[in-house]
């Protein structure tokens, strides 16, 4: 059996897209925050909170879409929380974000154990079904890969387009980017950097929550402690790889999804006698290398990590 055969069938490509979607959502979330000048290290915690909220609500109410809504809300709430820390109190973004992730991770696991401790059976929800798009899904190879997916996946495609248009074609998007590059310039244009950053972080939180909900309502169907497993951190890397542009970020996320799917395949096929973890290293290594090449040419939003102080003019 040829190694290449493993990766050139529709099943593999569809799996790659499936695994990439939460990364796309998370990356859009991080992109939005960073474009406004805030590094969101709370993303890992926000995704986890979204995953549990989505799962618990879907499990309790029987409605997957209510679960999605709940995940979005809890994400936005955490985004607001982070905004209070880093925008209002101007705390250091790195430490505050990490603190949020550590606290939320502990709280989420605690809550899961508390709510679902009594049942021995594997607790799960019936996940979203794939909805093939008529005609488009009949295209060979690309059809099943892109257009025989979950409704949430199509929403994600839409979000990539919407965010691109928002950032580069609307006044509000320009305001957001200005705040991320030069808050003082934004102020002289009558924009409140504080307000923009609070809103950006809430939107970023909502997207991160949605990414978490996708993980168990579409991909896995149950909540596990390893459900997010560093996917939030990967999104930090993807934003850099995608040079802070939604479309490039989509491409980067798809590439990561493919590596992830490849790694799973190799693991199960047993063709290559190497520890599968070696393949897991690749995306991170690629990011590190990309960082080195990108750092000078695409250094990211200029005001990233810099708290805005209204009295410093």
């Amino acid at each position: 059996m040829n190694v290449l055969d493993l990766f050139l069938d529709a099943g593999f490509l569809a799996a790659a897209v499936r695994l990439a979607i939460p990364l796309v959502l998370g990356t859009l979330s991080e992109l939005l925050a960073e474009r406004s000048g805030v590094l969101n290290l709370g993303i890992e915690g926000m995704m986890l909170a979204g995953a549990l909220a989505g799962f618990a609500i879907a499990f309790g109410t029987g409605s997957l879409w209510l679960g999605v809504l709940g995940a979005i809300l809890i994400g936005a709430l955490l985004g607001l929380g982070l905004a209070v820390l880093v925008v209002v109190l101007r705390l250091d973004q790195t430490v505050a974000g990490l603190g949020l992730t550590i606290a939320v991770t502990g709280l989420v696991f605690f809550a899961y154990r508390l709510v679902f401790s009594d049942s021995d059976a594997q607790i799960s929800v019936t996940t979203f079904k794939t909805v093939p798009v008529p005609i488009l899904s009949d295209i060979p190879l690309l059809g099943p890969m892109l257009f025989d997916q979950y409704a949430l996946t199509y929403c994600t495609y839409g979000l990539v387009v919407a965010l691109t248009v928002f950032l580069f074609r609307t006044p509000a998007g320009l305001a957001l980017r200005t705040v991320g590059e030069n808050p003082l310039a934004a102020v002289s244009a009558g924009i409140s950097p504080i307000r923009v950053r609070i809103l950006a972080l809430m939107a970023a939180g909502a997207l991160a929550g949605l990414a978490g909900a996708y993980l168990n309502l579409a991909a896995f169907g149950s909540f596990t402690f390893g459900i997010v497993a560093g996917r939030g951190w990967i999104c930090l890397a993807l934003v850099v790889l995608g040079r802070w542009h939604p479309v490039n970020c989509l491409a980067a996320a798809l590439l990561f999804g493919a590596v992830d799917a490849m790694q799973l395949r190799l693991q199960s096929s047993g063709i290559i006698d190497l520890p599968y973890q070696l393949f897991l290293v690749l995306p991170y290594l690629a990011t590190l290398i990309a960082l080195v090449f990108n750092a000078r040419s695409a250094p990211g939003p200029a005001a990233l990590l810099k708290p805005y102080n209204p009295e410093e003019r």
Binding site: R90, G99, T287
Partner: protein
């Protein structure tokens, strides 16, 4: 809308009291969580206290648990002082552990050299791993937050590959490294307990780092770089050199934490050797307000919560994860407390316009 932070007059009392208030606040939140789990918080705290500090053995266990967090705390402290955001403590701890496990199993090394060799190798491995992002930062302007984070994962997966490949334990077949030699196990300081040499190393490191930061020109230059990069440049210090040196020191501390876990606790390298100590180090450093001596109570606090929560969860069924929650909550609480100790918040409805001149 505009939100202003109005500086308060400096107050020594507030500065000192705030971390304690923060810890208190996080314990109050923690009581709420325990109540949610249907357990009386007072009983829960009594169990935690008893389990962590109730006797000679319990105290030594808490010390053993605190040791790696003291070292990763120092690692974070040194780096944060210079505003070098090393969040790669976890990876540096892991390479330290691997280096120690490798040296500890060398049969050709004279036995007397095993333990010092392990410490040295671990410190060196951690230092080198941390120097990479520092060089990338100073040479290529690569942001160290992302690069150190990426290195954590690279190291973690490489370690797992190593443990399930070439290093797979030949005796048990488990995915953990071969045991270190008997002579490589760290000496026990107190018979009948697990109090090992690594705890002493951690204590020594606190003193060493404290002296280094306070009384040497290197410590002074670190402070300059951290507080005002330009001042450091005018004072004739090469910022790049200071940052690389800081990274070497920071990584070495985290690496030593790995050596302690291998030589004093696990006697082999296992994938789960760290229990998040690398990230906990950042919490410790912030709780300690970046003071070397403060690292000890801060690490002890987290260790007490950790050992205490273990026992509490066994006895009362309150999920163990409360320990992780307290870690994060106390970090956030202390950050807020510091900000509020120095500022008052004032919200203005309309943005204040600067007078045009």
């Amino acid at each position: 809308m505009n939100i202003l932070l109005v500086p308060r007059p400096p107050s020594r009392l507030r500065e000192v009291a705030m971390p304690f208030l923060a810890v208190l606040a996080s314990l109050v939140i923690c009581s709420g969580l325990i109540l949610l789990a249907g357990v009386n918080p007072l009983r829960a705290f009594a169990i935690m206290f008893e389990a962590a500090l109730g006797g000679r053995f319990e105290v030594t266990e808490t010390l053993v648990r605190a040791a790696p967090m003291v070292l990763t705390g120092l690692a974070a402290l040194v780096a944060l002082r210079a505003r070098f955001w090393n969040i790669g403590g976890e990876g540096q701890l892991l390479v330290g552990a691997m280096a120690a496990a490798w040296v500890g199993a060398l049969t050709w090394l004279p036995q007397i050299l095993l333990v010092p060799g392990m410490l040295l190798a671990a410190a060196l491995a951690g230092a080198l791993l941390c120097a990479l992002p520092a060089v990338l930062k100073t040479r290529f302007q690569v942001d160290e937050v992302v690069s150190t984070l990426m290195l954590n994962f690279i190291v973690m997966f490489l370690m797992m590959a190593l443990l399930s490949g070439p290093w797979k334990d030949p005796v048990s077949g488990w995915t953990d490294s071969p045991d270190i030699l008997r002579a490589a196990e760290f000496p026990i300081l107190l018979a009948g307990t697990r109090l090992h040499l690594g705890v002493l190393v951690a204590l020594g490191a606190v003193i060493a780092v404290g002296v280094l930061m306070k009384y040497t020109t290197f410590g002074f230059s670190v402070r300059l770089v951290g507080e005002n990069a330009n001042a450091a440049r005018y004072a004739g210090w090469s910022m790049s050199r200071v940052i690389v040196l800081v990274a070497l020191l920071s990584g070495a501390m985290a690496g030593l934490a790995g050596a302690g876990e291998v030589g004093g606790v696990q006697f082999q390298a296992i994938a789960s050797i760290s229990a998040g100590y690398g990230y906990a180090g950042l919490v410790v450093a912030m709780l300690a307000r970046l003071s070397a001596i403060g690292i000890i109570p801060a690490a002890l606090f987290l260790a007490i919560i950790g050992t205490g929560a273990d026992e509490m969860s066994r006895e009362t069924g309150v999920p163990y994860f409360i320990a992780d929650a307290v870690q994060g909550i106390s970090l956030i609480a202390v950050l807020i407390a510091i900000a509020l100790a120095r500022h008052r918040i004032r919200i203005l409805r309309t943005p204040r316009r600067k007078q045009q001149t």
